[in-house]
Point group: C2
């Protein structure tokens, strides 16, 4: 049902935060896009919008979408799912109106559009109706292991990417069976994650990264981090390479 | 022991293959680098060198390093380890000679320098002697899931990145416990990987990608792939999002 003169939705990966880590392709598409869309926390400029700032055409129409709730909630928490579903459906409708009228829309995506993130909810709603092109970006986790000067995987390492929302036992099981790990969605899960790392015998090797590649970046052994919650842009790294380096 | 006037080693991530997926930072560093180093298969132009072609300064000195053996061998195979260790040590020595004489060296890296790959063996040998700066890049796997139009992870998905060199039982165990998976180093391991996917009840969902984002790209259900070995630039994807999408 693609309309003859439909615009194209571009899911534009912007990378981990440093604007210089945008790709040539992302920059080209942003410079040409007549409509710029992005998700943001209510009352904020929007992190994605800030990264892309230098390349957005002055004449572009902008359609920011303000999240109705925190994005740190558990995805299986029912009331949250209802509110966010309506929000995503309304956002997709706005985008599709531009596409139906023949205007391309660039949707700004932190990191990589196909690796977690809100873009997927637009993609699932729009792809059968209009052309969609995705521009991959450097993931937040890659920005973080670079900021920490911590090679994440060597040779035949197994890497596990884990949401901190998993329960302690599941986290520990994954941490034991992988050579390297990245734990995301830290927030209120910090204490539980520390316990799971200890359960797996790997607490001492864990690295904490806050705001990787951005202003205010902090990198330290997890053991040196004060107790309590961690902000949204934080990640825990467990580098691989144990006994596997060719030296 | 950093010499006063040492050059800097730049590990420059070039992304998955499409030159337009290089970052602004990678392009800036390549344009300024007086020495360009890269690894390649003997007798080939070198994949990394091909990606970077448009941005290398005409006056740059180039030092290609030819692998003595295939890079698809098992890392725990002893004779291989001896030969490759000597090769990496000699390559690092060549790079350090330029650095000691004050010349910056840009080492071209496919994908992301800290995510597998030969750069790590240079990093481990050089970082205590000379300044090293790493420029992250889009990983090959990200290029492949984009090429396949296959979002890899939604919401709270667990992602496992697995080398095809693991044995069948270990592969199946990881595939069962993760929501999404990426299997690399396919080559001669293809039949074993297919069996492990079947053991985990996930063969039908697997996607095969060859030369993602490059000329000659092929994407198909794994079930449609002919038997036998797969080339080096191939990957198997098992997308996440089962029952987790917010619709």
């Amino acid at each position: 049902m693609t309309p003859e003169n439909s615009g194209t939705l571009y899911g534009v990966g912007l990378g981990p935060g440093d604007p210089e880590l945008m790709t040539l392709k992302a920059v080209r598409i942003l410079r040409e896009a007549p409509v710029i869309a992005h998700f943001r926390k209510k009352g904020r400029a929007g992190h994605a919008r800030t990264i892309a700032q230098a390349h957005i055409c002055a004449a572009a129409v902008e359609t920011p979408f303000d999240y109705p709730l925190t994005t740190e909630s558990n995805f299986r928490d029912d009331p949250y799912v209802g509110a966010i579903r309506d929000f995503y459906t309304a956002s997709a409708k706005t985008i599709m109106q531009h596409l139906a009228e023949g205007r391309d829309v660039a949707l700004l995506c932190e990191g990589d559009p196909f690796f977690y993130g809100s873009f997927l909810h637009m993609y699932d709603r729009i792809r059968s109706m209009h052309p969609v092109t995705v521009v991959p970006g450097i993931t937040g986790m890659s920005g973080c292991w670079t900021a920490a000067a911590a090679p994440i995987t060597y040779g035949d390492d197994v890497l596990a990417v884990l949401p901190g929302t998993l329960d302690r036992a599941a986290l520990a099981t994954h941490l034991k069976s992988a050579d390297a790990a990245v734990i995301m969605k830290i927030g209120k899960n910090l204490d539980k994650i520390k316990q799971a790392l200890a359960d797996a015998g790997r607490f001492a090797d864990a690295i904490y990264v806050e705001r990787g590649t951005m202003q205010g970046e902090r990198v330290m052994p997890l053991a040196a981090l004060e107790d309590g919650a961690a902000p949204y842009f934080s990640i825990i790294l467990l580098p691989g390479g144990r006994g596997r380096r060719i030296r």
